[in-house]
């Protein structure tokens, strides 16, 4: 069936449509740099979506939990054996992605007889100096991007673009953890609302035409937080940091609800305490 090249191209195209559809219910992931390190935020239901990979590397993911687990283990194995056989400073996000999981994801995506990985992955790497901090995103087809300052994962391209625009416009420099956290929550809500809109307006991916109108109107903070409150009624806010000042070699730390509440202003605390 796929012997002819155009058949294969068609099959890969179908695969994109299928995969895009799989992310519709997914929760966005926001990562950004703050003055003490890097912050990752998402909202999850049951299973966690933020993980520690190595001393200075954290992972945020979207997609199928089993696929995410498989790739997480691949990353953990690579990072730890490399860190042991060479040195922890030779374990970098860039190497893990470029020579590690990106080729694996791409191969699975293009082998149309086999199941692809239903994942989007974000790797945050805390550099020895703030200017070396790196954020990497990998899509389900194996394409990856290396970013600074902030990065997001979202269900659709439109939602992703809206979150990035929002971060670009709103992110202060320098940015304290309190500011960063609040901004990350608002950005998450922007992405989540965009998913809802995209789904409502274009049940089968209507393209940029359908959502162009809504790009301009960014909801205000109250509306964003109201959305967050609504979502968190049956879901869980997840935040983790890679802290430069953390004692010892492991820099990853998940923020507990009590700490989150302390970091957020009074009117937002209710969102977390749900």
């Amino acid at each position: 069936m796929y012997e002819e090249p155009y058949r294969w191209v068609e099959a890969v195209g179908n695969r994109r449509t299928y995969l895009d559809e799989q992310f519709r219910q997914g929760s966005p992931v926001v990562a950004l740099g703050y003055d003490g390190g890097l912050l990752l935020t998402t909202v999850s239901k049951g299973t966690s979506k933020l993980y520690e990979i190595y001393d200075r590397i954290a992972l945020g993911g979207m997609g199928h939990p089993a696929d995410l687990e498989k790739l997480r283990f691949t990353l953990l194995e690579m990072a730890h054996t490399e860190g042991f056989n060479r040195s922890p400073s030779d374990v970098t996000g860039s190497r893990l992605v470029k020579y590690g999981i990106a080729p694996v994801i791409k191969q699975a995506f293009e082998e149309v007889y086999k199941a692809p990985f239903i994942v989007r992955i974000l790797l945050a790497e805390l550099g020895q100096k703030p200017e070396k901090d790196t954020l990497l995103t990998i899509n389900y087809d194996g394409t990856f991007e290396e970013l600074k300052e902030y990065a997001v994962l979202a269900a659709t391209k439109q939602a992703q673009a809206r979150m990035q625009e929002y971060l670009k416009a709103q992110k202060p420099s320098p940015c304290a953890l309190e500011q960063g956290l609040l901004l990350a929550l608002r950005t998450w809500a922007i992405g989540s609302l965009a998913h809802q809109q995209d789904s409502a307006e274009s049940p089968v991916d209507g393209g940029p035409e359908a959502s162009r109108e809504t790009v301009a109107s960014i909801p205000d903070q109250a509306a964003l937080l109201a959305h967050l409150r609504e979502v968190l009624a049956d879901k869980m806010l997840e935040c983790a940091v890679l802290e430069r000042q953390q004692v010892g070699s492991s820099k990853y730390r998940a923020l507990k609800p009590a700490e989150l509440a302390r970091l957020l202003p009074g009117d937002v605390q209710a969102v977390v305490n749900r």
Binding site: I53, Y54, D55, F73, E77, H80, T81
Partner: protein, 257 residues
């Protein structure tokens, strides 16, 4: 496989070899590290070691750190062949991290003890061949029990709890007796000593070990060389800095005629 969160197993699957005996080693003077001690004091456990590494009659190195941190709440103090001991510590450090990151929970204190024991068992052949004997003391904070604990091992990997204290290395017979004496008939038992009292005891014990054991390095004031002393409490592992040891040594250890 990886799902067990066993890093040592993963290494072995990739062809890593640990504890291989080397027949040619028996005639060579191997480096070894010498006096380590651990005892419980009021706030937790104190672990200390001298700084000397020797090979036969030769002093190899005078700045050895024999009290190695494996994670925020545990240390392995080493006596024996440093090459093997350092490798063990590297394996343990990565194993504990790997377990936590894959299984999404800390390895239990008992699990950590087993990991040390397992490595020693793997090392038996090398230890008996004379190329890699290590006799460590493991100390850490056990969160399940809410207490800092001490364990010591033999070269075959058997583990014993040091209820009050544990010692290892060539200088240990000297200080074992002193620890027993101080703890039984001293003014205050070790377990109620403050951090400062415990630190003074550790300095005195290591100085005594250096007095009678040529392979144990004493304090070298000219070079500003003091023993390594680490404290384990609920908050984690903390190093007693040299600028704290120096005045204590001057005022409480040096004998003024």
């Amino acid at each position: 496989m990886g799902m067990q969160g066993d890093f040592f197993q993963l290494l072995k699957e990739q062809g890593y070899q640990f504890g291989q005996p080397t027949a040619a080693g028996s005639g060579v003077d191997l480096p070894s590290a010498t006096t380590i001690l651990a005892f419980k004091y009021r706030d937790g456990v104190l672990v200390a070691g001298d700084r000397r590494a020797t090979a036969g009659n030769m002093v190899m190195y005078d700045r050895t750190d024999k009290v190695l941190e494996i994670d925020r709440h545990s240390v392995l103090a080493i006596a024996g062949v440093p090459a093997t001991a350092y490798e063990m510590v590297r394996i343990l450090e990565h194993s504990f991290k790997y377990y936590r990151r894959t299984q999404l929970q800390e390895l239990s204190f008992e699990g950590k003890l087993r990991a040390v024991s397992k490595l020693l068992k793997e090392n038996v052949a090398a230890a008996l061949a004379g190329t890699g004997a290590v006799v460590p003391v493991f100390a850490g904070y056990d969160f399940e029990q809410g207490a800092a604990k001490i364990f010591f091992y033999d070269i075959l990997g058997a583990e014993f709890e040091g209820v009050e204290y544990a010692v290892s290395g060539s200088g240990s017979p000297t200080i074992r007796g002193i620890l027993h004496y101080v703890n039984t008939w001293g003014e205050r038992p070790l377990a109620v000593m403050t951090e400062e009292e415990a630190t003074i005891q550790a300095l005195r014990l290591l100085t005594s070990a250096a007095e009678f054991d040529s392979a144990t390095g004493g304090v070298n004031r000219e070079s500003n060389l003091y023993p390594i002393i680490k404290l384990i409490t609920q908050e984690g592992v903390r190093v007693v800095p040299d600028d704290r040891l120096k005045p204590l040594f001057e005022s409480k250890v040096v004998r003024h005629a």
